[in-house]
């Protein structure tokens, strides 16, 4: 069967003709599948998709995001999640079912400007997203260096099973909190390490679509290629569980290419 790997496309570009299943960021026009975004197209047995290189974050249920508290009404906080919709965090999520605006001070719990790690629990075409901070590892982010990247680069920054971000964390002795919405907080005791981690993150953001990125990041971090990933010391980074509908990552496309070229064991 005909296959396409890594074709650069802009909206309207014809990717392939034939009876393929449209997966992401593509539509069928007559006998052709065309791209609806700027990105990297891939076609194979499972279908045709385009990994986008630009575009804002669109919320998905179960995504872990880092949001900024904006204002609050008497019943919920408005949270900026770097998307086209602001999210709501119900007061009950924090204070419990017997929340009372008269007794419980929302502003003291979460103030304007605070950052929270939250999970999206509801979102559809008819309403704004709703989040919770009740699970383990969610809640207010107390400290760290704040960075914003394009949400389309987050999968590449995480890497397959967290490999890219773990490489950065270990080399710089930092802990990197990543929201699917492109918001990132870096913590660490050593300010030089934090600076280096930020540089590595920026490099991944800018070069996410290029081959051999892993190598260049390792060079920046002064990490030898053969060093095995030591996952025992650091806790797993915050990664959204891979949904059934989650988009393929640029990492996956590149890794498959590396396997092909014999540079990496599958």
């Amino acid at each position: 069967m005909q296959e396409i790997r890594r074709k650069y496309v802009v909206p309207g570009d014809r990717i392939i003709d034939g009876n393929f299943r449209p997966l992401f960021n593509v539509i069928r026009a007559g006998n052709s599948i065309i791209s609806t975004r700027i990105g990297i197209a891939e076609a194979g047995r499972e279908g045709v998709k385009v990994i986008p290189l630009s575009g804002i974050y669109i919320p998905r249920v179960n995504d872990i995001v880092i949001g900024k508290i904006m204002h609050h009404s008497s019943l919920s906080w408005d949270v900026d999640i770097n998307s086209c919709f602001s999210a709501h965090l119900p007061a009950q999520d924090v204070f419990g079912r017997d929340f009372s605006p008269a007794r419980d001070d929302m502003g003291r719990e979460l103030a304007t400007g605070d950052l929270i790690t939250a999970r999206i629990i509801a979102f559809d075409r008819t309403r704004d997203p709703m989040v919770t901070i009740q699970d383990k590892d969610l809640g207010k982010v107390p400290r760290g260096e704040f960075i914003k990247i394009s949400a389309t680069r987050v999968p590449r920054l995480i890497g397959k099973r967290g490999s890219m971000i773990q490489t950065i964390e270990q080399a710089t002795h930092t802990r990197v909190l990543i929201g699917q919405n492109g918001i990132i907080v870096v913590t660490g005791r050593n300010s030089e390490g934090i600076k280096l981690a930020v540089r590595a993150i920026r490099m991944v953001e800018e070069e996410a679509h290029t081959p051999n990125l892993t190598q260049r990041v390792k060079t920046l971090l002064n990490v030898s290629d053969s060093a095995p990933a030591d996952t025992s010391q650091l806790a797993q980074p915050q990664i959204a569980p891979q949904n059934e509908e989650s988009q393929p990552t640029i990492q996956e496309v590149e890794e498959e290419l590396e396997v092909e070229k014999g540079e990496k064991a599958p």
């Binding site: 005909q2 296959e3 396409i4 790997r5 890594r6 074709k7 650069y8 802009v10 909206p11 309207g12 570009d13 014809r14 960021n25 539509i27 026009a29 065309i34 609806t36 975004r37 700027i38 986008p52 290189l53 630009s54 575009g55 804002i56 086209c84 919709f85 602001s86 075409r125 008819t126 389309t152 679509h209 290029t210």
Partner: protein, 246 residues
């Protein structure tokens, strides 16, 4: 618009030296406005136009939101120093009309149903105008929309053709616009082969009408090549034409 002088000389050269089927020089730069979600700057002849896209984003006021699709808002505006005589910054009726036809030219290309209850704002600012500014504006706006990562069925390319000295010519300039016989701006989706904007200012017979339309569409296809190259350059740099690995 009656002519008082010849605008095409005996060698077929126009007032700016072009032949009848030549486009003016076009240059497009993508991503020029840092704050915008998508942007493009276009130089088309002496037109200098910047387009910025913000969106999809929240609609304010909330009651303006549509439940099943995105609201598209377009503004075409000329800066006071963009024209021969200084223009008052307040929107003129011409700008209001062009804003509307611009929106109607871009809307068919956008998959607005993917972003219900949100809004996309397209701002086109003319820094210098030189005949065909609405076409140049639409061209830049479509590039800015792609830069913003909005789902699109196709790019929109725009170009005008016109009648000058009784001949149909491509991409009329400022002088030809003012002193020629007819001006027909067209916007076109090159892959879907659909016309999304068509206006006529002037008098044409049926043959001339068909010829003019064909010429303008030809021009749109040439404009598309510049748009595509600009987007590829910004996103893929020198790896523009990566071969497919079959």
């Amino acid at each position: 618009m009656t002519q008082t002088r010849s605008l095409i000389d005996e060698n077929g050269k126009r007032t700016d030296g072009r032949t009848g089927d030549q486009l003016r020089e076009i240059k497009i730069t993508v991503g020029v406005i840092k704050n915008a979600d998508g942007s493009a700057f276009i130089e088309f002849g002496m037109n200098k136009i910047v387009a910025a896209v913000y969106g999809p984003r929240e609609v304010h006021p909330k009651h303006m939101a549509l439940p099943d699709r995105c609201v598209l808002r377009c503004r075409y505006h000329m800066t006071p120093f963009s024209t021969d005589t200084r223009k008052n910054p307040a929107p003129s009726r011409r700008e209001v009309e062009i804003s509307k036809v611009m929106r109607e030219a871009l809307e068919p290309s956008l998959m607005l149903e993917d972003y219900p209850r949100a809004a996309i704002d397209v701002y086109v600012e003319v820094l210098q105008a030189d005949g065909g500014s609405r076409c140049a504006g639409i061209t830049a706006a479509s590039v800015a929309l792609a830069d913003a990562g909005i789902n699109m069925r196709d790019i929109v390319s725009a170009c005008a053709a016109g009648k000058v000295d009784d001949r149909i010519v491509l991409d009329i300039n400022d002088t030809e616009d003012k002193e020629g016989d007819a001006d027909m701006p067209v916007a076109y989706m090159p892959h879907l082969e659909q016309v999304t904007l068509l206006q006529l200012d002037g008098v044409l017979n049926e043959d001339q009408f068909n010829q003019c339309l064909d010429e303008a569409v030809k021009g749109c296809k040439m404009v598309y090549e510049v748009q595509r190259k600009a987007l590829m350059q910004k996103y893929f740099g020198n790896e523009t034409e990566l071969k497919e690995e079959q």
